[in-house]
């Protein structure tokens, strides 16, 4: 029996993580002890303060790390080095912006979350919760817990911490995915799928960890790396273990063939959460992937390279091509995020010093555009049909309820879902208190079908223009952050000898420009009423995915409306736009700063 020796912990190095997780715990207590009315402002203040504090803490740690190259904390379980800080800073900033979008209740006075997550959709209980004006303020601590996990994820120095961080970041996300205020069945279904598949991926990861432990006798990255170098004759164990761990991480970044949850989860989740999850999760997961790939497995590069190449190429191809035929803006962005995962992978596979810099920069650029784009999606809403003076819902509104069923519910549950959703939709109409004879119908959920975005550039030029900026950044047009990022990862790939990947990447990003530009054309060059379906499907009339299939069945809505933000979302969108432009026009300082610390310590 050895005596337990308390480890010497450098608490200061952990400040960003501790701040966020501590605030999350406080948030839970707030839920228990603070009166309902005051909860939202209190939670919001705590959350924003914690995330801002994390950003400041990262900045404060920067100087030390830049000098020393970094240290390991908690006996090497957590590694605080340059890439860790860059990633933590990126995650904290993006989470801060995402929380602003989450917090925005818009002019409708409602946030994007179900009033009572536990209520059955369409039940009387839900209606009562809505009437009582309940708000799901648990969202904030959940986001903080997820962010805390993300902050640990790229900093992990051993496999066990990796697994714990993965679960800490994943579990709150599963919950958050199921909390959408509207289209609740879709949301809950997405949550369920995300959870099941996430659990599957976690199991694979855990199995991989076990195999790697069996191979090396240690969970520590540094020890495993040493064992890899020393030929132990157990290569099968090592290779399968490494493969399984990589698969667990590739699932989180949404790489093909582990991407299938992405479109459904992104579509079903409340849009602000989608933005948060698309940006921050990807940053964290790529951070962990880079560390694993560069620190533990570089000696296996000849074994793993074919596999990573396959995944990268498949990811770019599938993400790009399938995005071309989507008709739902959230699904387009979801598949585009898959494609982006592929672009980042080309930088990861490069295995060069500039590859790390490129990946870190790309993640920041991608994350900023993603949070901003989903922030805008959350503001573009459907307007229901005008109600008749007698209080009866006109036929337009009644039939307008049908389109709420979409996405992957092409099973026998669809009929039930239709009935429930129509009812829920009618409830929405009541909830927003449309005055009889009001000239404009009530504001409903998000207008995510592409046809509903037609002509947005004419009615809301500034909002649409900002969206164009984000799309151009996704497309990698020069003078946006996306171009700099793409250029950086592709040149890193060429430098690392992976030029076929770079060529595929260039071709894929050229093709990807189509669906971005298609949205731009739709917003600026198509009139809102004039046959909105044609331009959407014109490119590929004979290809229909499941969300396209119900497009024909869609009854026309009374229209699309952009709801006014309370201000939070506007700040976030504006900040994202500024970052996108700044990183495109003068990326020098940021690239320099990243490059100066982009050194992983084992």
């Amino acid at each position: 029996m050895t005596e337990f020796i308390a480890p010497d912990i450098a608490w200061a190095q952990l400040t960003p993580i501790l701040l966020v997780l501590g605030a999350a715990v406080v948030g839970v207590l707030v839920e228990a002890f603070v009166p309902r009315r005051a909860r939202r402002p209190v939670q919001l203040t705590i959350t924003l303060a914690a995330l801002a504090g994390a950003v400041v803490a990262v900045a404060a740690l920067w100087g030390g790390v830049a000098d020393t190259g970094g240290t390991d904390v908690l006996l090497g379980s957590v590694v605080v080095d340059g890439p860790t800080l860059v990633l933590q800073g990126t995650i904290a900033v993006l989470a801060l912006l995402a929380v602003l979008v989450i917090a925005d209740r818009t002019a409708t006075g409602e946030d994007a979350f179900a009033p009572q997550g536990a209520a059955t959709p369409g039940s009387g209980y839900e209606e009562a919760a809505r009437a009582a004006g309940l708000q799901q303020t648990e969202v904030y601590p959940l986001v903080l817990f997820a962010t805390g996990g993300m902050l640990i994820f790229p900093a992990t120095g051993d496999l066990l911490t990796l697994f714990v961080a993965l679960e800490v970041l994943s579990l709150p996300l599963y919950l958050l995915t199921g909390l959408a205020r509207r289209r609740r069945l879709l949301s809950q279904e997405a949550s369920m799928k995300y959870f099941l598949l996430g659990a599957f991926a976690s199991a694979l990861l855990l199995f991989g960890i076990a195999l790697l432990y069996g191979f090396s006798g240690s969970l520590r990255y540094a020890d495993i790396a040493t064992a890899v170098r020393a030929d132990t004759g157990m290569d099968a164990l090592l290779l399968v273990g490494a493969l399984l761990v990589l698969v667990g991480l590739l699932f989180k970044v949404g790489a093909v063939p582990f991407h299938s949850w992405t479109p459904d989860a992104y579509q079903g989740a409340p849009t602000p959460i989608t933005g948060f999850m698309a940006a921050c999760t990807k940053v964290a997961a790529f951070g962990a992937l880079v560390r694993l790939f560069y620190v533990v497995l570089p000696d296996l590069r000849w074994d793993l390279e074919p596999m990573m190449w396959t995944v990268a190429i498949a990811t770019m191809a599938v993400g790009t091509v399938v995005a071309l035929v989507q008709t739902d803006v959230k699904r387009v962005l979801a598949y585009s995020s898959v494609a982006h995962a592929g672009f980042v992978l080309t930088g990861v596979v490069a295995l060069t010093q500039s590859g790390i810099t490129a990946v870190l920069f790309y993640l920041l650029a991608y994350g900023a555009a993603t949070v901003g784009a989903f922030g805008i999606v959350s503001l573009v809403r459907e307007r229901g049909a005008v109600r008749a003076a007698g209080g009866r819902v006109t036929s337009g509104a009644a039939s307008g309820g049908v389109p709420h069923v979409e996405g992957a519910t092409a099973t026998s549950g669809a009929a039930v879902a239709t009935a429930v959703e129509v009812r829920a939709d009618a409830d929405d109409t009541d909830g927003e208190g449309a005055e009889p004879g009001e000239p404009e119908g009530p504001v409903l959920g998000e207008a995510t079908h592409l046809s509903q975005w037609a002509g947005l550039g004419r009615t809301n030029p500034v909002l649409a223009g900002t969206f164009v900026l984000f799309l151009l950044s996704f497309a990698g047009i020069p003078l946006t952050a996306g171009f700099t990022g793409k250029f950086a990862v592709f040149t890193a790939a060429v430098e690392g000898g992976a030029w076929p990947l770079a060529v595929v990447g260039v071709v894929a990003s050229a093709a990807a420009a189509f669906f971005y530009v298609r949205i731009i054309v739709l917003m600026f060059f198509t009139s809102p009423q004039g046959g909105p379906q044609q331009p959407v499907t014109a490119g590929s009339p004979d290809v229909a995915d499941e969300s396209g299939a119900d497009a024909g069945a869609r009854a026309p809505r009374a229209g699309t409306v952009v709801v006014a933000s309370q201000g939070f979302a506007l700040v976030a969108i504006g900040a994202c736009a500024l970052i996108t432009i700044a990183l495109g026009v003068v990326p020098g300082p940021v690239l320099d700063a990243i490059a100066s610390v982009a050194q992983l310590i084992p």
Binding site: P306, P535, P587
Partner: protein, 638 residues
């Protein structure tokens, strides 16, 4: 750097600021916005002229000036600053773009007078000017790419400007596709340069060429050529240009005659060091130029739409330039020379076509024209000047530039390359004859012969009339250029000497035939083409319905089946790929595992009862993917 060159950034900044202002001010600027656009373009021209005087005042070896703007990207050992390069080549383009651009701005004030969105149109025009100037002034390939994408975007906005008609949107899309293919070329070239030279600015690339292998240089050269083909509508990416004519006519004059479509020629001439090290790529450039020259000329003979015929002619003329650029130092200066004169006479003819359309209720079918000479005297005269210039009739501008290209094509490029001299020379010569035929055909069908429009107006009568002064003045100025610019520029070899700091000094090479013989042969070919057009379209009546025509005519009418070929070679496989990927992503894997699921009844039923939609299938996809990857990883070890 003295004080004057520090003005260079204004060239870009002024039109850009104007474009931003016009877009941001919105309707408030509707009344005067177009004049702001004209002013911005004029200001850019004035700055260009000032820089010209500065450059002319310097000795020839001091005429390459770099203006540092800011440090753009610095990652690791990759340092790139954004800077402008003012040298004879870029300044030639600046002056061409801003001068012709300004005239077209003025013309558009009247041409677009009845368009509610005129202010927006001018914003796009300014944006285009700014982007084009970035393209030609960039001191690195990366900044050039910024301008390259910028002109693509602006042209996309301008072609699709009248987007209320579906064909226009389709045309804009087609242009977009072709340009994206070209962009891939430029991007790959960029990455190859970075991998080879570690830098992408012109100086470093030129300096590093000596140490690079010929294979690499050939690859870079071919990729640059692909880029040029996309932008300049060269074979096999030429099909978009004809469709792009759907945009407003001033746009065609600016983008599709004088400026953007010539960017490919600029790129090739600018990349001379790369091509000098890659003779194979150079030969391919020449071949592409020759092919496009003939294709464009043949298509031009069959088109009845005046703008599409002009577009085909542009394609063909740029083919001449690319051919010249592929000849190496012998041809660079002449390629640019022809580019400048062509910019004048082709823009003038496009504006003339716009003027005809303006007076004819937007009719573009030449079979519905005829005898317009009496009604539009100024248009007739200015168009006539352009016609004689493109025919290469001395002493009009086109004669000086095109004749030089034909002479250069007859020069033996290297020992044992006699066949090339004869082949390319003959193609250039024949091309001149065909050019004479289709341009004369256009001229006669439009302005001469029987009036074919009075009795064919649908619903209301047509009253052809001359355009307002705002439209005719630019046409007159361009016509003056079409008449005299070539002569002035070639005086004492002035233009080639001016470009020497960039293109290098070339010893005179003797063609395989005496120069006089070539000149006479060219003139004979032109006269033959002209006579044929005279007989067919002036002596004989022009039928109002297009005759069935020969196989070649019918093929030429549909752009030599280029669209069909594109469909078969590119679109269809792409569609199948899309379909199978989508199918595979959602169905195939599902199908396979549904089958498996039926076998394992218990699990299958359970899964089905859980009713999670496709979650089971997603998991199956992951598992299958895992198995495949495991095979990929483990197979080499077994």
């Amino acid at each position: 750097m003295n004080d004057l060159t520090s003005l260079a950034p204004l060239l870009v900044a002024v039109p850009l600021a104007s474009a931003a202002l016009l877009l941001l001010l919105g309707r408030a600027a509707d009344r005067w916005g177009h004049w702001l656009g004209v002013l911005a373009s004029t200001a850019a021209f004035v700055v260009g002229a000032v820089l010209l005087t500065d450059l002319l005042g310097r000795p020839a070896d001091d005429r390459v000036l770099d203006v540092h703007l800011f440090d753009w990207i610095s990652a690791g050992h990759f340092d790139l600053s954004a800077g402008l390069r003012v040298d004879p080549l870029s300044l030639t383009f600046v002056l061409l773009v801003t001068f012709v651009g300004t005239l077209i701005h003025v013309y558009s004030v009247a041409y677009m007078a009845h368009d509610a969105a005129r202010r927006r149109f001018f914003a796009y025009l300014n944006l285009f000017i700014a982007a084009m100037l970035v393209l030609v002034l960039a001191d690195s390939y990366l900044l050039l790419f910024v301008g390259w994408e910028g002109v693509g975007l602006a042209s996309y906005l301008l072609i699709g400007f009248w987007n209320h008609h579906t064909p226009y949107a389709v045309a804009a899309k087609k242009a977009f596709v072709a340009n994206r293919v070209g962009d891939i070329g430029l991007l790959v070239a960029l990455m190859l340069m970075f991998a080879t030279f570690g830098a992408v600015d012109f100086d470093s690339v030129a300096a590093g060429v000596g140490g690079a292998s010929q294979g690499t240089l050939t690859a870079i050269g071919l990729m640059l050529l692909l880029a040029a083909c996309g932008k300049s509508a060269q074979f096999p990416l030429q099909s978009w240009l004809g469709d792009a004519m759907a945009g407003p006519t001033p746009v065609s004059a600016l983008i599709h005659a004088a400026t953007m479509v010539t960017a490919g020629v600029y790129l090739i001439v600018r990349s001379a060091p790369v091509f000098e090290g890659a003779p194979t790529a150079q030969l391919v450039v020449t071949i592409i130029g020759a092919i496009t020259l003939l294709i464009g000329a043949i298509i031009g003979c069959a088109k009845d739409d005046i703008k599409k015929a002009l577009a085909a002619s542009t394609m063909s003329q740029i083919g001449y330039m690319v051919l010249a650029a592929g000849l190496g130092p012998v041809g660079y200066a002449f390629a640019i020379f022809h580019l400048v004169t062509h910019g004048f006479f082709k823009a003038g003819m496009f504006l003339g076509a716009g003027s005809v359309m303006h007076g004819m209720d937007d009719q573009t079918d030449m079979r519905r024209f005829g005898g317009l000479r009496k009604y539009m005297v100024i248009t007739w005269v200015t168009f006539g000047a352009g016609w004689l210039a493109i025919l290469g009739v001395p002493p009009f501008s086109g004669f000086w530039s095109k004749d030089k290209i034909i002479e250069s094509a007859f020069v033996v490029p290297e020992v044992g390359g006699e066949w090339r001299a004869w082949l390319f020379g003959a193609v250039a010569l024949v091309g001149a004859g065909i050019t004479a035929f289709y341009m004369s055909r256009m001229f006669f069908m439009t302005f001469h012969g029987r009036q074919r429009w009075a009795q064919t107006s649908d619903g209301h009568d047509q009253h052809p009339h001359e355009s307002p002064a705002l439209m005719t003045i630019p046409m007159v100025l361009l016509a003056v250029g079409s008449v005299g610019l070539g002569f002035v520029l070639q005086l004492g070899g002035g233009f080639t000497t001016w470009l020497e700091p960039v293109t290098g000094h070339v010893e005179h090479h003797e063609p395989v035939l005496p120069v006089l013989v070539i000149q006479v042969a060219t003139l004979v070919a032109v006269a033959l083409g002209l006579a044929l057009a005279w007989r067919q379209y002036l002596s004989l009546p022009v039928p109002e319905a297009a005759p069935a025509g020969t196989v070649l005519t019918r093929a030429a009418r549909v752009d030599l089946y280029q669209d069909a070929v594109n469909d078969a070679v590119l679109v269809e496989p792409g569609r199948h790929l899309t379909r199978s990927l989508v199918y595979g992503d959602r169905t195939a894997v599902d199908g396979a595992f549904t089958g498996l699921g039926r076998l394992t009844v218990g699990i299958g039923e359970l899964v089905r009862k859980v009713q999670t939609g496709y979650a089971r299938q997603y998991a199956a996809t992951m598992l299958l993917g895992l198995v495949v990857l495991a095979v990929v990883v483990l197979a080499p070890r077994i």
